[in-house]
């Protein structure tokens, strides 16, 4: 019998994954892995997390059918998994509450996090406030400028925000800086990595914490439509919201899985973040995965109007799913994403994050490749309030 795809756990996903980090970090990764393995089998942990999600996160998140939006794409039905309605406004809180509980179990009083769009930084600062932990968030200087409102939110929540001024001054460099902090402070500090990238156990653990999205969706879609959706769509930067909604459906072969990555100015220009479409396998931030790099193995700078997708790497499980042919990955340009953001806002009264808008823009392609009447479940991973300055300038509203 073929092993189930959903049963795959790290350190490796095929040739991808692993732990390509300096030796000083290995003890911390071992400790985290052991703590997580014990916790996931411990009912007191899983019950506590479930209770937190019920009373604090606001789970389960609802599903909304986007009828007026779908009508723009012909004969398909579009269902939105409303992760934007979670506390802090995105899916990121699912992982953060899980890891903060683990930090407590390990007796660590300080958490550090990286953030691109600021969603993970805000979620981390929120969890730190809730659990009474110190919190430092590393954020590329470029991103602190385009996400100034989220910087203010993190500070109000009591976190220290460090603007990273090295390298390309974006998410990739924020992760480097967080890793450097972790090497130096590993005894007191948990690195609360915000996506399904990085060294084992992060890709598996972060996926597991987000897999609640897919589990809920499956039941909700069965109750709502009496069957599984024909396709699932999500945006992919590091890939956490996508793997979160994909995971429960990995072994349902009839359900197509679609990840939409940032094609920036266009997938054939030098300015994009389409790692799975244009990258080659390599090692970045501790894992083997597809990544954008030059002929010398130097990481290439990515580009996207969306800070959260502006990352030249991707989680190893996505690389594995791509090579297996189980998931499809498709590029969406800045302009297509912004059009979709506006369309969703004006047809449904839901302002999506620009990251999420990439998945919504994917409906045009899906409406062409899926059968008539197809049901598409989209992970509406975050709300767009944080993007109002970018959107305001883009659309000439401010």
């Amino acid at each position: 019998m073929t092993p189930k795809l959903s049963a795959q756990v790290g350190p490796y996903f095929g040739q991808f994954g692993g732990r390509f980090v300096p030796e000083p970090l290995i003890a911390a990764l071992d400790e985290l892995d052991a703590t997580y393995q014990a916790a996931r089998k411990d009912e007191s942990f899983t019950n506590e997390l479930a209770q937190l999600h019920l009373e604090y996160t606001g789970r389960p998140s609802i599903i909304t059918e986007a009828k007026r939006f779908a009508a723009q794409f012909g004969d398909i039905r579009v269902f939105l998994k409303r992760e934007d309605l979670n506390h802090t406004g995105s899916h990121k809180i699912n992982n953060v509450m899980g890891q903060a509980l683990l930090a407590k179990r390990m007796g660590k009083k300080r958490i550090i996090a990286e953030t691109g769009a600021g969603q993970h930084g805000v979620a981390s600062a929120t969890a730190a406030a809730y659990f009474g932990l110190d919190c430092v968030v590393y954020m590329g200087e470029v991103d602190t400028e385009r996400q100034a409102l989220n910087v203010a939110r993190m500070k109000l929540l009591g976190a220290e925000v460090v603007a990273v001024t090295t390298g390309s001054r974006t998410l990739k460099d924020a992760i480097n800086e967080a890793l450097r902090d972790w090497v130096a402070n590993v005894d007191s500090t948990h690195y609360l990595l915000g996506t399904v990238a990085g060294p084992h156990p992060f890709p598996t653990m972060v996926r597991d914490f987000h897999s609640v999205i897919g589990k809920e969706s499956k039941e909700q879609m069965l109750a709502l439509t009496g069957r599984l959706p024909d396709a699932i769509a999500a945006c992919v930067g590091g890939g956490s919201n996508a793997i979160g909604i994909f995971h429960a459906f990995l072994d349902d072969e009839a359900v197509q899985l679609w990840g939409f990555e940032a094609a920036g100015d266009g997938i054939d220009t030098p300015h994009h973040a389409a790692t799975l479409n244009r990258g080659v396998p390599g090692v970045l931030h501790g894992a083997m995965s597809y990544m954008l790099q030059d002929a010398d193995g130097q990481t290439s700078e990515s580009h996207s109007i969306s800070a959260g997708l502006d990352y030249p790497g991707v989680g190893p499980e996505h690389s594995w799913l791509k090579d297996l042919g189980r998931a499809n990955y498709f590029g969406i340009t800045d302009a297509q994403a912004m059009d979709a953001m506006k369309l969703m806002s004006q047809t449904e009264g839901i302002i999506p994050a620009i990251e999420t808008a990439h998945a919504l823009a994917g409906m045009e392609h899906l409406s062409k490749v899926l059968p008539k009447g197809a049901h598409v479940l989209v992970n509406l991973s975050g709300r767009g309030d944080k993007d109002m300055e970018t959107a305001g300038r883009y659309f000439g509203l401010i």
Binding site: R19, P22, V183, H285, Q293, T299
Partner: protein, 259 residues
């Protein structure tokens, strides 16, 4: 026995101790870095560590980050690492180990990279973000050519990992002095002695201590319990502020910490 290991053992037995000097290849330009390595070799460094500039150096502090960024901005290409080694080799016999993050090696092709190391006259490589658990391809390629393969041990490493990483290393074992990235430290941790002690107890490979060493006194202290002291940031800083002369002066100063 590898050339590097032979030197470390001779210097320990003679009571001199060993100074290992790091500098980034291509910083600020290819020829400048060649001159820097030659100056370091002629003024007291027993072993040279040729750093490969990389876009995401997670183990390095700001001084080395900025230097390697500058080398890249000045157009450094990976293959120039071997050109630097060849040019230094024409002038001095000092053993050279490349220090490279893993992705450039992977992209070049692990076996091709090992061959280029051998062809250029380098003795082997230190891999800061490659643990032996993930390093089978490199260990094979290096072993085939009798190249040194130096892995790290850290104060946080379990006894089992110290043992495994030491066993997997050839040339020496790189003992990370402190929990942190490269850069100068006023006080070297007691941790350095502990981690070195663990490696020494195994009685297999020699071990050098790196991270945080910047004074002759520290070079002397480290050599009193380990087989060598590795210095990087202090050399890069000396070069930044005083050019080749400043680097030469710093090398002489640190070499005064040797017996």
């Amino acid at each position: 026995m590898s050339k590097v290991e032979t030197i470390l053992r001779q210097n320990r037995d003679s009571g001199r101790g060993t100074l290992v000097g790091y500098f980034p290849a291509g910083y600020p330009t290819l020829d400048d870095s060649v001159a820097a390595f030659v100056a370091m070799a002629k003024n007291g460094c027993d072993i040279l560590e040729v750093g490969v500039p990389y876009s995401d150096p997670v183990m390095d502090g700001l001084v080395i980050q900025q230097a390697t960024e500058k080398a890249l901005a000045n157009g450094f290409r990976l293959s120039e690492t071997f050109e630097v080694i060849r040019k230094v080799r024409e002038q001095v016999d000092t053993p050279m180990l490349v220090m490279s993050y893993w992705n450039p090696v992977l992209r070049y092709g692990v076996d091709n990279f090992a061959q280029a190391l051998e062809d250029s006259g380098a003795q082997g490589m230190i891999t800061p973000d490659l643990i032996p658990d993930e390093g089978a391809s490199w260990i094979d390629a290096a072993t085939k050519r009798d190249l040194d393969h130096v892995f790290l041990v850290a104060p946080s490493s379990s006894d089992a990992r110290v043992k495994a990483n030491s066993a997997a290393s050839q040339g020496f074992v790189y003992s990370v002095s402190t929990m942190g990235i490269t850069g100068e430290r006023a006080n070297l941790d007691q941790l350095a002695r502990q981690v070195v002690g663990k490696v020494k107890d195994l009685g297999t490979a020699p071990t050098c201590v790196g991270v945080g060493i910047s004074s002759a006194e520290q070079v002397r202290e480290v050599n009193s319990y380990a087989d060598g002291a590795i210095v990087g940031t202090a050399f890069v800083k000396a070069y930044e502020s005083g050019g080749l002369e400043g680097l030469t002066e710093k090398t002489r100063e640190l070499a005064r910490g040797l017996g």
